[in-house]
């Protein structure tokens, strides 16, 4: 039970930690305040508990496929918000006067709140499962200790990996930090859109199709590596045609928005963002 609790909570925490870390890298390099993170986390925790408490009612919606519809909506919204986030992200300032321009501050603030909304939705989705699992099992006296200890351990490992990713990405040369973060967030949009498609297929709202390939013989989702790749890249050993198309669409749209806004290269050249500038991080929290 202990090991199972570690794995289960770690899986859920990892998915959220990856997203928050990478999003934090982009916001950090844009010199945004970290208020968004706190707001997203708090609102997400609140909504996750509400979702977990009402899961049974939600499940009964639309002839017992309400859970899939709500999850697909959350995931679809996250993919759309990710594209919007990059669309409103202000271009780097050419001069100090530009940096203080009201329009730039407004855009920066909008991007910050979109980031908060993405975090809120991610925490709602992943957190509700954690709440349900912990809430259900702590009522069983024989499991309480193992579940809480395992859950705490899994949460701690997930959080540590998130911090490692954050500082690891910021440790790269600024241009590469931006490129890596942009690509990872575009991948995240692809993952969310493909998972939304999978949920709607499960609900029978989209037609089911045969897998277009089967890679389970050389990399199965039952393995640790398979699970890690699932959390980081949304890996599926037997994806359907719609799954792959949605994945590529989400990825391509966000990459196109990033390319259209072109903030990466200019910021990489003009702004510091390496590990030496991580010092003021705490003061921004």
């Amino acid at each position: 039970m202990l090991l199972n609790a570690v794995i289960l909570i770690l899986q859920e925490t990892l998915e959220a930690a990856f997203l928050i870390s990478v999003l934090a890298v982009v916001c950090f390099m844009q010199r945004m305040k970290f208020t968004w993170l706190l707001c997203g986390l708090l609102a997400g925790t609140l909504f996750a508990s509400v979702y977990a408490i009402n899961l049974q009612t939600v499940s009964e919606w639309f002839d017992y496929v309400g859970q899939e519809v709500v999850n697909a909506s959350l995931q679809g919204a996250m993919a759309i918000l990710m594209a919007l986030f990059f669309a409103v992200l202000p271009r780097p300032q050419a001069t100090l006067a530009d940096a203080a321009a009201p329009s730039r501050i407004r855009k920066s603030s909008l991007a910050m709140w979109i980031a908060a909304a993405i975090v809120m939705l991610a925490i709602t989705r992943e957190g509700s499962e954690i709440f349900l699992y912990l809430g259900g099992l702590v009522q069983q006296e024989e499991h309480v200790q193992a579940v809480l200890m395992g859950g705490g351990l899994g949460f701690g490992i997930g959080l540590s990996i998130g911090f490692l990713l954050f500082y690891g990405l910021l440790g790269l040369p600024p241009l590469w930090s931006w490129r890596a973060a942009g690509c990872l967030l575009a991948l995240f949009a692809g993952i969310m859109l493909s998972q939304a498609v999978m949920q709607l297929t499960q609900a029978d709202w989209l037609p089911a199709t045969q897998p277009i390939w089967d890679s389970s013989a050389w990399l199965s989702e039952h393995t640790v590596l398979g699970q890690l790749l699932y959390a980081l890249l949304g890996f599926e050993a037997t994806p359907s045609r719609w799954f792959v198309l949605a994945y590529l669409l989400g990825f391509a749209v966000v990459i196109a928005v990033i390319a259209w806004r072109r903030p990466l290269q200019v910021i990489g050249e003009n702004q510091a963002g390496g590990p030496e500038s991580c010092g003021p991080l705490l003061s921004r929290l």
Binding site: N4, L8, L55, Q56, S59, D63, Y64, V65, Q67, E68, E129, L132, Y133, G135, G136, L137, Q139, Q140, M198, T201, Q202, A203, D204, A208, Q210, S216, S220, E221, H222, E236, A237, T238, P239, S240, F243
Partner: protein, 108 residues
């Protein structure tokens, strides 16, 4: 107008027919075990699995092979659609109690 109404009625009838034609199979979760733990379904057919969780604890029905995952609260029921599938075996498990909650869908 009459023609349109007739067409709507025919479409509705077809939809109801299509919905009714989906075979339904019931699975129960009791003491963290699936009953039955082997579910036999016909090949190339969409099937509706109605899963009843009789335990007070929640469970997550999960299958990597079927690409399905769904949380079921304690003392509640839910529906998961699977297929159409090609012949073979598709294991599933309860993610919250994976040691005991194991089963498979056999497609023939």
């Amino acid at each position: 107008m009459k023609r349109r109404l007739l067409l709507s009625l025919v479409l509705c009838a077809l939809m109801v027919d299509a919905w009714a034609a989906t075979p339904e199979i019931e699975i129960e979760i009791k003491d963290h075990l699936f009953y039955p733990d082997v579910v036999i379904v016909p090949a190339e057919t969409k099937v509706k699995l109605r899963i009843r969780n009789l335990d007070p604890t929640p469970e997550e029905f999960e299958s990597y092979e079927l690409n399905r995952e769904k949380v079921i609260a304690g003392h509640s029921e839910t529906v998961v659609f699977i297929g159409p599938l090609v012949a073979g075996e598709y294991p599933f498990f309860g993610e919250f109690f994976p040691k005991t909650a194991q089963g498979k869908v056999v497609v023939e």
